[in-house]
């Protein structure tokens, strides 16, 4: 099979970026939008071609082989350590190509309507192309350093897009926060890479993941603070992933990132970039399996994040923030699914890998749909606040139906796609232990509750006063909604186990009836509770709020995590490290240097009197000097 055309998948978006960035201000908005969309359509078609070719191919020894149509040397560090840039095609990267290009295409089409007439429209499309390029480069990376390179590039695209409305101070600080928090996490990633490559002498994924044991044998014996070096390296690399995927406690940037335009939130902060952390763990899955203590850590981080974000999402009033916390919680599901794995074989504890990738796929579709739907709502009422909405189902019929489909999917109601993928995750969690199973089922129930709180808050409930009647969005915005809704309805029936499993062998998905029934019952109960509370205007929500004032306040303020960070950065780093250092530099170090100068000056000032030009003084000094010398001479010659 020939995959040489796959280079175009990377080259085209880069070319689009350069064209739009350099020539954008000479184009009309319409042309720039169409150009960007047409370019992305081509990339999407190419990705589908790759996917069809790849998954249509016969299995070799029961698995789908990893292919590398391109891999060239970009920079060499030592004889063994070189950074290559290339394209790696294996089941998960091909799946990611499909996910990214599909969502990106939808967002490109949608943005033509949503961003219509905005200042900087061309720049917006340029950044979207840059992001698409970076994200595609990330998923097809052949080695961990290439991944790191594109990892940084998606970070900067995200920075640029969050700060798109750069005259708005809140957007500027949100973009800065996003970049710095993820940069901090990337420091861990970088150290992890350095540590890993130091012991294994390779960056390349195929060597790192080869039979899992390769890595361990080469680091055996080396320990640091009671843990093996392998565990440290993998934990540090996971830190990078946790930053990008907004895992607790590195999640604080994601809710603020909602300052960006809504389609950007859909693309970057819901469907693609934020799952990079999940993808990273999946990519290095065999290595993670060899360090079970890190997998344990991953499970805990994921589980805590899932619960935390779900609780916070229940009380937020900004619809994009609800969705942001929901995203954090759902990504945590994927992380947990990977964490609970115990072996490479799907039927013996490796189910989580498949479940995680499956959920990644379905979540990308329905979460993009939710965000784009939220964008349509915001477009109609010009506000993010739930209090400005309510009763919108009459005005926005298409948005309403598609949003409902997405809500049902995320709540895990059959036959929508979220049900199937979430069910696999819960099954994997129950496989590991009943504890994780129950934990995640509870979170799934909370998910259903807050999503329907959101749904009723927007489309039902009390109608807010509008300055002008809200109206349905233009076709450029509703068509992507409909397409994504259709995908959400049918994606659950994809035989995912055929394509992606932990060891590459085909695995037939079968529903675990006990798990499925439990989770559906929980979800339905949660939805009914939400209906009872929020469907009609009533005072019950306020009563509940009053009954649990402290919990509500803490959850509403996101358990004060932002304040903790604020304290650490401003109070400690700025006030107690940077300022004293700057003061020390100006006053102590520089003061010492200046002191040399002043001392020299003042000494010179003191002794310059000797050169007064007065003859009497000279003669006087001469006589005194001569007398001293004479006395000394006499003393040495005669007394001795």
């Amino acid at each position: 099979m020939d995959y040489s055309f796959s280079i175009l998948i990377l080259a085209l978006p880069l070319f689009m970026f350069l064209t739009l960035a350099l020539g954008g201000n000479k184009m009309s908005q319409k042309f720039a939008g169409l150009l960007g969309t047409a370019g992305l359509l081509t990339i999407a078609v190419l990705s589908y071609m790759v996917a069809f070719q790849y998954f249509g191919m016969d299995r070799v020894d029961g698995i789908r082989p990893a292919l590398m149509p391109y891999n060239f040397e970009w920079l060499s560090f030592t004889d063994k350590l070189t950074i290559n840039l290339g394209i790696l095609l294996d089941p998960i990267s091909v799946m990611m190509l499909v996910v990214i290009t599909t969502v990106s295409l939808m967002v490109h089409i949608y943005s033509m309507g949503y961003m219509h007439g905005e200042r900087g429209f061309q720049r917006y499309y340029a950044f979207l192309s840059l992001f698409t390029f970076s994200m595609l480069g990330l998923v097809v990376a052949t080695n961990i350093f290439q991944m790191y390179i594109f990892w940084e590039l998606v970070g900067v695209s995200s920075y640029l897009l969050i700060g798109f409305y750069y005259t708005k101070p809140s957007a500027v600080s949100a973009s800065k926060k996003a970049f710095i928090v993820t940069r901090f996490a990337d420091l861990g990633f970088l150290l992890g890479i350095l540590l890993l490559s130091f012991y294994t002498e390779t960056f390349s994924f195929d060597q790192l993941t080869a039979d899992g044991g390769f890595f361990l044998t080469s680091t055996s014996g080396a320990t640091f603070m009671g843990c093996s070096v392998a565990a440290w390296a993998m934990a540090l690399i996971f830190m990078g992933g946790a930053g990008k995927s907004a895992m607790f406690p590195l999640h604080i940037w994601l809710p603020d990132a909602m300052e960006g335009p809504t389609p950007v939130s859909a693309l970057i902060h819901a469907a693609t970039m934020v799952v990079a952390g999940v993808y990273l763990v999946a990519r290095l899955f065999p290595v993670y399996l060899s360090v079970p203590e890190v997998l344990e850590l991953i499970t805990w981080v994921g589980a805590i994040t899932a619960l935390y974000a779900a609780v916070v999402a229940c009380v937020q009033s900004d619809i994009k923030r609800v969705l942001a916390f929901s995203t954090i919680s759902q990504i945590a599901f994927m992380i947990v699914a990977l964490g609970v794995c115990t072996s490479m074989i799907p039927s013996e504890g490796g189910l989580g890998y498949m479940a995680s990738m499956f959920h990644l796929f379905t979540h990308a579709m329905f979460k993009a749909l939710l965000f784009l739907g939220a964008g349509a709502v915001i477009h109609a009422v010009h506000s993010n606040e739930m209090s400005d909405m309510g009763g919108l189902r009459k005005y926005l019929p298409i948005t309403h139906i598609t949003f409902l489909i997405a809500c049902l999917a995320i709540a895990g109601i059959p036959p929508f796609s979220g049900f199937f993928s979430k069910d696999e995750i819960l099954a994997a969690a129950f496989n590991k232990s009943i504890f994780w199973g129950v934990w995640m089922t509870v979170v799934a129930a909370i998910t259903a509750f807050y999503m329907f709180r959101l749904y009723f808050g927007i489309f039902w409930g009390k109608e807010a006063k509008h300055e002008h009647t809200p109206h349905e969005s233009p076709a450029t915005m509703t068509i992507p909604l409909i397409i994504l809704a259709v995908i959400t309805c049918v994606a659950g029936f994809i035989p995912f186990g055929e394509y992606i499993t932990s060891n590459g062998e085909a695995y037939h998905i079968h529903l675990d009836m006990t798990v499925a029934i439990t989770s559906v019952v929980c979800a339905v109960v949660a939805i009914l509770l939400a209906t009872w509370l929020f469907a009609k205007p009533n005072s019950k929500p306020e009563k509940m709020q009053a009954a649990l004032p402290r919990l509500h306040k803490w959850a509403y303020n996101r358990f004060y995590m932002d304040n903790v960070y604020q304290f650490v950065t401003h109070r400690i780093i700025f006030a107690y490290i940077s300022r004293p250092i700057a003061w020390f530099d100006r006053h102590i170090i520089d003061g010492t240097m200046d002191m040399f100068a002043t001392v020299t000056n003042s000494v010179a000032e003191k002794i310059k009197g000797f050169q007064s030009g007065k003859l009497q003084v000279y003669v006087w000094i001469y006589i005194v000097g001569a007398m001293i010398l004479a006395a000394a001479a006499i003393y040495t010659l005669c007394i001795k």
């Binding site: 390179i149 973009s175 901090f184 150290l191 350095l194 940077s578 250092i581 530099d585 010492t592």
Partner: protein, 497 residues
């Protein structure tokens, strides 16, 4: 006559041409043609050098020439280049070229300004091509002295103080250096055939270990002052803040590289034993420079101070990597010199252009410039991204090479310092984004700024040249790293022995 002497002859001819010029147009013509010729010559040198290497010429230095200059003390005009010097010459030529356009409208005394600037470039080129210690030292001084006048006359703010401070501190460094050089000279040979030639001294390998321990710190600190090593860096913030644009560019871009270059070419290469023994002291100092500069930059409010402290941090990383003395880390150090040179020059050029319009460098008094001067602002963002190590721009490849190389040491001391140095990538992001957020984004702070205009053609040209160079290294790093690695290997292997 070696081809290398062209780099001294062109500027001398330029000075003659400038001397004869009668008006601004003639001055500009001479400066443009001359600096363009230098750039062409530098590119030609790279091509010739790579050609010779590809043809299998493995001599340590190429294009050598040797003329006796002062027989009694064995002082020769001896020149020769390896990959590192070639890279440095290219860097200097690019920055001089961009600097000429950045000072297109210099006022007053344009003729004198350009003459001093060109004299400075003679010193720089001469330093990089010399392989004779004395000639090298002479060119080093030639590069330093014009700085005093350039800052003192064309500077701004506390210019007399800054010019004096900068010159005196660097002269103090030179004094130590001179001692070191003389010390090396008088121990350069075991059989009495004293020599100033670096290659011969290295080949003789005659400096006793006990004396190396004295002369190594002298030369390293001597050059380290110019490389802004903690605690001898305080000339840098004041000096940069007062210097005119092109001088800041040249000074941070090229002159500070003289420090790093001298450190490994003279101190480390000639005294490998002392390097091994004493590197830990300087590793601590440079390690401090790296995060000290970065943290200081976080709270500064003057644009030039921020960049000066950022330079302390980045140049600290250069010396830090050199002291790791393995091929990878040292290659990274040279790449960091190139990268830092280009992006700081870009920064200072942009700051000069912004200052020329707003008449303030205080970040609290600016805001929303992106709307008013989009071209300059976008360039500033690009420079910022290069500085914080975005892949695809030069900073990333340099830093990564350094970190990978430094990680090769397994002892706890170096590991800890390496990790400490790595944390600077986060702090760099903090101060860069702080500035970008304050001055470029947000609402416009000052009503008067709304009337300002964007860059004009010569300013655009100057910045574009630098951006192309920064992106060029960032996107195609392999040729630069190969060019440097071969030459560095000779030096690092000598130290490791």
């Amino acid at each position: 006559m070696s081809i290398l002497s062209i780099f001294v002859i062109i500027p001398i001819l330029m000075m003659g041409g400038l001397f004869l010029s009668k008006n601004m147009n003639q001055i500009r013509t001479v400066a443009t043609i001359g600096s363009a010729l230098q750039l062409i010559a530098a590119v030609a040198l790279v091509v010739l050098f790579c050609g010779k290497r590809a043809a299998g010429d493995t001599a340590e230095m190429l294009f050598m020439a040797d003329h006796v200059w002062f027989q009694a003390l064995n002082i020769h005009y001896a020149v020769g280049v390896d990959g590192v010097s070639v890279a440095m010459i290219l860097l200097s030529a690019i920055i001089v070229f961009a600097g000429v356009f950045a000072s297109w409208k210099i006022n007053p005394l344009p003729k004198e300004f350009f003459m001093w600037l060109i004299l400075l470039s003679i010193g720089v080129y001469g330093f990089f091509i010399s392989i004779d210690l004395f000639t090298m030292f002479m060119f080093y001084e030639v590069a330093l002295i014009p700085m005093y006048l350039l800052i003192g006359i064309w500077g701004s703010g506390k210019k007399y103080y800054s010019a004096m401070k900068l010159t005196l501190m660097l002269m103090g460094g030179s004094a130590l250096l001179l001692l070191g050089i003389l010390g090396i000279y008088f121990n350069s040979s075991a059989d009495g055939n004293l020599t100033m030639n670096i290659l011969e001294i290295a080949a003789n390998d005659a400096i006793p270990h006990s004396l190396q321990k004295i002369f190594f710190p002298l030369t390293f600190i001597g050059f380290g002052v110019l490389g802004a090593m903690f605690p001898f860096h305080t000339w840098s913030p004041d000096g940069h803040a007062s210097a005119p644009t092109a001088v800041s560019m040249l000074h941070a871009g090229v002159l500070m590289k003289l420090g790093g270059y001298g450190c490994f070419r003279v101190a480390m290469y000639l005294m490998p034993y002392a390097t091994q023994e004493l590197s830990w002291i300087f590793l601590i100092l440079t390690g401090i420079s790296v995060f000290y500069g970065a943290y200081s930059a976080c709270v500064q409010t003057d644009l030039k101070y921020i960049n000066a402290y950022s330079s302390v941090s980045h140049c600290g990383l250069v010396l830090f990597a050199l002291l790791m003395w393995n091929t990878t880390a040292m290659t990274g150090a040279i790449m960091q010199m190139l990268s830092h040179g280009l992006m700081t020059a870009l920064f200072f050029a942009l700051i000069g252009m912004i200052y020329g319009r707003t008449h303030t460098r205080d970040i609290r008094e600016m805001g929303g410039l992106m709307k008013i001067m989009p071209f300059l602002s976008v360039c500033y963002v690009i420079a910022g991204l290069a500085s914080l190590g975005l892949p695809g721009l030069s900073g990333f490849v340099a830093e990564m090479t350094i970190f990978v190389g430094a990680f090769d040491h397994t002892d706890t001391f170096r590991r800890v310092f390496t990790i400490l140095a790595c944390t600077s990538i986060v702090i760099t992001a903090v101060y860069i984004l702080r500035v970008v957020g304050k001055i470029l984004y947000g609402p416009v702070q000052d009503e008067h700024h709304l009337k300002l205009t964007d860059a004009v053609w010569y300013e655009k040209f100057s910045t574009i040249v630098l951006i192309i160079a920064v992106a060029g290294i960032g996107i195609f790093p392999l040729w630069v790293s190969d060019l440097i690695r071969e030459s560095i290997k000779v030096i690092s292997e000598r130290i490791i022995q």
